[in-house]
Symmetry: C2
Subunit: 185 residues, 2 copies
């Protein structure tokens, strides 16, 4: 299974790192054999509002070889949903088995057309914006509908990590990972 983590400027890093932590453990404990990922961006670097910078290892490469795409949120999504070049890049993941988002990352999935006729969620302050892109907005913390899984605001990224652990490796693996993270949320 090959995952593309999408990063961009004005991202919320906890949206990424919350889910990443569980996925890191899925690989480290070999709960999902062959699990791999890339950190993908259109830019050489991606920084948040105050300059904390992560280096992507794939820059502006098509996303058509990934089984999973994971899109975090952040202020940057406000402009990126209107950035045709960026949205077209996200669209190259259209055949991915799972399109996953955290927080306002769902607006990017939405702009790419992935949430059409779907139930989805986002940060609670952006429910109205999300309505433009999907069939039904849910206030649930995690919403799965077909090939899309959307999570709510920031800290729900940790819950998403455990949700995916359960989905991809079973209850016992998710329980062990939750214990290692000491997460009781």
């Amino acid at each position: 299974m090959k995952i593309a983590f999408i990063i961009f400027n004005e991202i919320t890093w906890l949206d990424l790192i919350g889910v990443y932590d569980a996925i890191f453990r899925l690989k480290h404990m070999n709960f999902v054999p062959g699990l791999e990922w890339d950190i993908c961006a259109q830019t050489n670097l991606a920084a948040d509002h105050y300059g904390l910078t992560i280096i992507p290892n794939k820059i502006n490469q098509p996303l058509d070889s990934y089984d999973v795409i994971i899109v975090p949120g952040g202020y940057g999504t406000r402009t990126l949903t209107n950035d045709e070049n960026f949205v077209n890049w996200i669209r190259t993941a259209q055949n991915a088995k799972w399109k996953i988002s955290i927080c306002t990352g769902s607006l990017i999935l939405g702009a790419a057309g992935f949430l059409k006729n779907k139930k989805a969620t986002t940060h609670f302050s952006e429910y109205e914006t999300l309505k433009l892109f999907c069939k039904e907005v849910s206030e649930d913390r995690i919403v799965e509908d077909g090939d899309t899984i959307t999570a709510g605001a920031v800290s729900s990224s940790l819950d998403l990590g455990l949700y995916l652990s359960r989905k991809w490796a079973g209850d016992e693996a998710a329980k062990i990972i939750r214990e290692r993270m000491a997460y009781h949320g």
Copy 2:
């Protein structure tokens, strides 16, 4: 208030980003006027076990000008606690008003001598190691003792962020930040 976030190779990124998220919001909502930080390392880059890389903005600079030092954990701490050059660098923060750690970051504070005669905590798998460096090991999620604040395993980093929000900006600020993060842990 000026914070040094310490990063290193083989770090657990959620240890850093969990507490960072709340501190980012403290600044963004101007709850702590003059709040600033640097991402400090001894190396040009810091990567976790699978290569996710953050760029520090201060490399091998003394830590004596910071009010706060925050040290995350990770596998890297196993060798760093025996790396005299690294530990001496951490010791340059000895006059910081608060020395703070997450997870096995407390072993680094301990190796630097900051936990002498203190009560402290760490990842639950490292209580025995921590005993070498402090007076009393606590199983609490967050332990404050004088100028040190130590947090437990990984996800307690989010709790630490809210703990510091309350400490530095009051209950109301912490409540607002918790709501924005949608964190109920």
